[in-house]
Symmetry: C2
Subunit: 437 residues, 2 copies
Amino acid sequence: MSRISGFSKLTKLEKIDWLSKHYLSEYPDAKTIIQQYWNSNEALQKLHDEFTENTISNYYLPLGVAPNFKIDHQLYAIPMAIEESSVIAAASKAAKFWLDKGGFKTEILGTTKVGHVHFNYKGSTEQLITFFESIKSKLIAETNSITKNMEKRGGGIKDIKLINKTEALENYYQLYCTFETVDAMGANFINSCLEQFGQTLEAEAKSYKAFTEEGYFPEVIMCILSNYVPGCLVRAEVSCPTSLLGETQEEALKFVQKFTQAIKIAEIEPYRAVTHNKGIMNGVDAVVLATGNDFRAVEAGVHAYASRRGQYSSLTHVSVKNDEFKFWIELPLALGTIGGLTSLHPLVKLSMALLKQPSAEELMRITAVAGLAQNFAAVNSLVTTGIQKGHMKMHLMNILNQFEANAEEREKAVEYFKTHTVTHSEVINLLEKLRAE
Amino acid sequence: MSRISGFSKLTKLEKIDWLSKHYLSEYPDAKTIIQQYWNSNEALQKLHDEFTENTISNYYLPLGVAPNFKIDHQLYAIPMAIEESSVIAAASKAAKFWLDKGGFKTEILGTTKVGHVHFNYKGSTEQLITFFESIKSKLIAETNSITKNMEKRGGGIKDIKLINKTEALENYYQLYCTFETVDAMGANFINSCLEQFGQTLEAEAKSYKAFTEEGYFPEVIMCILSNYVPGCLVRAEVSCPTSLLGETQEEALKFVQKFTQAIKIAEIEPYRAVTHNKGIMNGVDAVVLATGNDFRAVEAGVHAYASRRGQYSSLTHVSVKNDEFKFWIELPLALGTIGGLTSLHPLVKLSMALLKQPSAEELMRITAVAGLAQNFAAVNSLVTTGIQKGHMKMHLMNILNQFEANAEEREKAVEYFKTHTVTHSEVINLLEKLRAE
């Protein structure tokens, strides 16, 4: 255990040697394991090393594909990067289930993104309003070098509003700014615009007579986009006659009743809503990751949206009217299909090719569908066989790998667990028994 | 574009061939790119393929290390798996800053996990209460085969309560169950217990006289753990005299004033809180991923916790008293250091070795610290230089890679952007100019 100066300046091998010496001395294979994950193509490895700082290796997430997704009459095979077993299987199963029932229908409800200049000001609000109106066109004009390319693509700054927040916090005001960023997620564009707004605001204020007379000037605290994007919203839906939801009329009715109750529980019980939405995000994040988008941004915006009415609640909803079952989701999703990692990570490029080079709006539709499909599959399992049966079957392979089961042991285990419940200790017991034979 | 039956049954190569033919025909390099990411060690690749379903390749996330974290008087080099540039750099910078100011102090506030049997019941609540009391010990007894190993490790079922939720939703009741899962995240353990509770509940109800007389029986809707874990909570904190927060007394005061205002803004403005907490999760998720934990579970629980008072709010807080600056976070974190991927993914094992084989509680402490450090670094940048300067410097390398800049072009670009603002279009302009020379 040791401190170090200039770690980031070391070469990758020097970093690994330092870690080996100071933190991994009891783990002599460390260096071999780290290097085993390097790509043999040096240029490709260098590309990945430079994505971030102090990189020592490549962390593998499985990249899989869920085929048979029919979305707005188009078929997709959706790339998903995720480590959790059963997520891709569940997505594929839901896709197949809805394939012959009209598939998924989607709608873009908005594409507006948001950012703020947060600032303090101690003087009179009227003065500030007058000042803001007088500089509003200049705020926009001075971002010209930042916005010109975005405008060519049909995007740009939509509006800037002055918001008085002094009732919530002393002296606190905002420039509330809205943006259209077309196919880019737009974080860098928005933050660059906002920082320029902040600079213009402070510079103009300095020479504004009323402020000089008052002795109070606006002071910028920070300029930053918001990952809360309720105006960048997509809806996805499935529907079918209730009779298609079971082998028999009775089974279908039972399923609809239990499924509906499960969704209603997630609407009113936050403890359930959190896990319900977590399952949705299994699907959403897998697509977000595979397409080089930022899952932390998406997660934060989605969960805040789930709490927008004051109590954390379900993101999916269900209705049954005239024997028509309808199940839908509304998700705020600020995604990009250009910029960032999208044109940089070769497997992200591959994912984009697999999705036929989607626009940001198309990617919003696909991602929302992945979330809805995941939720349908999860709730379906929960109200019928229970979640553990399918999940543990998937996890069985992982446990067998962990104990380095050979081909014969694996075969016997699969056979045995066709009629027994998979638990971690039951798998160990079985292996011990097989090995003692 | 095509549908397929039995995709999951195909071999990996057959899957790739099918995708190449039906979705990637305009992308002839697809197969080469997919295979370029395979590990040359076949057994290792097989291990990763079996983590989930329909795996075609390994999605690389950079695995980096942030050294110099002093946590409760112990030094750590923290493994972080994250694709976003500047996250690891920011963590390292914050770690270094606090290293000589006492480092990070942490406290475990609870380790209780939660799950529910959600069920319907139309009869009298009094009957149900009497029934529940009569079967409570049996509910626990019948999970014996599931709990015995957990109990050996000091964990198990803590309590089962019957909750009447009929005011929120007709006929809806819960068994609200609490668990201690020690060093396991415990999802499989908890879900297995809950499904057994559900089975026992329904089986016992069938022969319960009062229900038979009434004609109403409890009907289980679903049995599932909750990822909302406000009882599994860790606190992390830094503190120092305010005078240490700037080169001069004036600079320190200014910093403290702006930093404090930035945190207070995140406390009262959900638009800001979402991005504020997103930055925290950059640090948290990077550790969660590197240690083989489930970031969707953590994200859902954390953001729901951020909305627990009815308005989505900041996870970090600040106080200044008697010239003492204190900055802290409280995070619900259900993490495991055994089970799941932790003993399976060789790089997760490496991460655990780097952290000196932490207990789940130690990993909670480390992860919360990574979140707090990330937030300190982000807010520090925001209230001083702005976020773009540092971020775009980091991103410059990515843009240069994208346009395949050679060594000379890279050197000139780095030099040029020492005095100019990095934007995507400015980098392109510069490269075009260099290439036209």
